[in-house]
Amino acid sequence: MGYTAMQGGLSAIKAAEDLVRRRTLGRRRHALDPSEVAEKMSLGVDRVMSEGGLYDPAAAAVALVQAEGDLHEASFIVRAYRSTLPRIAYSIPTDTGEMRVLRRITPAFQFAPGGQLLGATRDYTQRLLDWRIAEPGSFAEDQAEPDACRAEPPVFTRIADLLRAEGLLPAPNESSPEPDDITRSPIVFPASRSARLQTLARAETGSITAFGYSSMRGYGTFAHGTVAELRVGLIPFRIRHPYTGQPVKVGEVQVTEAEEFTISPHRHPNAEDVEQFALGYGLVFGQNERKAIAMAMLDRQLAEGGGAMASQEEFVLMHIDGIEATGFVEHLKLPHYVEFQSILQGMRRRRDRHAATTTEREAALV
């Protein structure tokens, strides 16, 4: 019944880790094969790369297995791994017009140059639970080759360029300054567009979707923009060669890109310039269409500003990172008895003072 001093913290941790390891290995005593996870749970792996801020499908797949499928935890493991990697070079900006396209749609036009390329999507599939997946050998007859890129990249005119040609969308700002990097200098407010886009690109998918959704339901400046174009594909990744100084392609990354047209509600009645659309931009690692679209929406919401939550850059950008949000929320599991003792003393002191004054008051009434 006596008081037991806190001891054995390390053995407690190790026992907890052992239990987790048993769950990861399961009854069959082996972990899932990460290469199979990378191939068949690629959308989960893509989320981990995007929120973890590291393009490394192999590492993301290992993290997903290690985290027992917890996407937040897997992204966190990848972020921590990222901290150990020295930054040895900066890539050269890529024109996403070079994308080897796997999927490209434009909701803005029924038909546009290049057409609609659905690619691999569940958008028009009935979401019926497919029990055949649980039956061994169900798909043994299926000899289809896995999804492959076209050898020749299809040429797609940018939908945005169609409107630029008509003078309805401003030309892209060619004189863009050196971008901020929020992983090296914390974001400051008002935030530059590059800091805003980088923060949104690493955002937690659920959070960014909720903020975007709120802006569509009246808590935003634009009720409903128009998605100009959504693309999924592979873009080249180049650095400058350290000796020759020439650009060299060192690989490809898969990305999802979304562009959204919006009209500002704040146009001045006496404005003399021609009214134009503005373009919201979203670009995320892997295939993650809801995140790219929500990013494009919030890009514009935050540029326009306003009173709604989704338009306030500090509110959105400071709370949208999954690693930071889950970490701080879950830190409430840590012991807080030092603080609670201090709080408890205050409550007891005020209780005793209240009792004393009540007694005095009652005594005075008698």
Binding site: M1, G2, Y3, A5, M6, Q7, G8, G9, L10, A12, I13, F76, I77, R79, A80, R82, S83, T84, L85, P86, R87, I88, A89, D181, T183, R184, S185, P186, V188, F189, P190, I239, P242, Y243, E314, M318, I323, E324, T326, G327, F328, V329, E330, H331, L334, P335, H336, Y337, V338, E339, Q341, S342, I343, L344, Q345, G346, R349, R350, R353
Partner: protein, 293 residues
């Protein structure tokens, strides 16, 4: 400017699974140290830094860990405490991160440590010259209680405009008859910056004033470091008629070592009785093994 080849030669770790001394790469550690130098030069001023994600979750001490790992050398001896205790699971987890990636020795005796990383306590034995206490800071901004916007609080610090913090204390007195702010009590540093000392109890606040050791504060999620250099004046803000006071444990003695006049943990026993022990476990152990009065 460094060429890619030089950086590769300096920094690339040998394959996956190998980690640099102190986990972080050398460029990152240098970056954190530069921020810390600036923090020491401007006592109490919050310095932004490129806070990295650590293998410990945000909000679980990543700021303190980055500070500790960035100043750590092979000759250091490290002590890690959580809520005053060396044995806490989070203290253990941070300690083994430090030792696994650096191999430096650790201690539970605060007198033997060159670097002490702490969550929400200052050891009972005063720091001596040359010792560094690294605080884990959840919310570095002392004005956050009155102003949620970082843009605005930065302006308030720049103008030394702390009027709303005083109004906050005044309203507390009106509502509760006292300044109830329990832990993380706001202090003025060197007469210039208002600072949050992290959620240490009031008990520890006086130890910040004119100390012999160096106090470094790291807030990982909020990406700020700040410092109280040795021999710096640190004053809790209060009113003449409502002066600052600390927690008290009248007639309480540590159940284990018999210490009085220390910050205590209150524990509820299985039979419902309340017992008290030293919050500073290293201090308690030193008293039991002799060596500390």
């Amino acid at each position: 400017m460094s060429s890619v080849a030089t950086l590769v030669a300096q920094n690339v770790t040998p394959g996956r699974g190998a980690y640099n001394f102190g986990f972080l790469d050398e460029t990152t550690k240098r970056e954190v140290r530069r921020a810390l130098l600036k923090a020491v030069a401007l006592p109490g001023h919050q310095i932004p830094f490129g806070s990295r994600e650590m293998p410990v979750a945000r909000g679980w001490g990543t700021g303190g860990i980055q500070v500790t790992l960035s100043i750590l050398g092979p000759d250091d001896t490290v002590k890690v405490i959580d809520q005053g205790a060396d044995e806490g699971v989070n203290a253990w987890n941070i300690r083994r991160l430090v030792t696994d990636t650096s191999g430096v020795p650790t201690t539970t005796d605060s007198r033997e440590a060159t670097i002490i990383q702490t969550r929400h306590r200052i050891p009972e034995t005063p720091l001596r010259d040359g010792q560094v206490l690294v605080f884990q800071v959840p919310m570095p901004e002392p004005l956050r209680m009155v102003e949620p916007s970082e843009r605005k609080t930065r302006a308030m610090h720049a103008q030394a405009d702390y009027s709303r913090a005083w109004v906050y204390l005044y309203e507390d007195v009106v509502r509760r008859g006292e300044i109830s702010h329990a832990t993380g009590y706001p202090v003025m540093v060197a007469g210039r910056y208002l600072l949050s000392p992290s959620p240490i109890p009031r008990w520890d606040v006086p130890k910040l004033n004119m100390a012999d050791g160096l106090y470094l504060f790291g807030a990982g999620r909020e990406k700020r470091v700040y410092a109280i250099p040795p021999h710096t004046e640190v004053v809790p803000i209060d009113f003449e008629d409502y002066p600052f006071y600390v927690e008290s444990f009248p007639d309480r003695k540590c159940q284990k070592c018999g210490a009085e006049a220390v910050y205590m943990n209150e524990v509820v026993l299985d039979d419902g009785r309340h017992a008290f022990t030293c919050s500073d476990s290293g201090y308690c152990d030193s008293r039991l093994t002799g060596g500390v009065e």
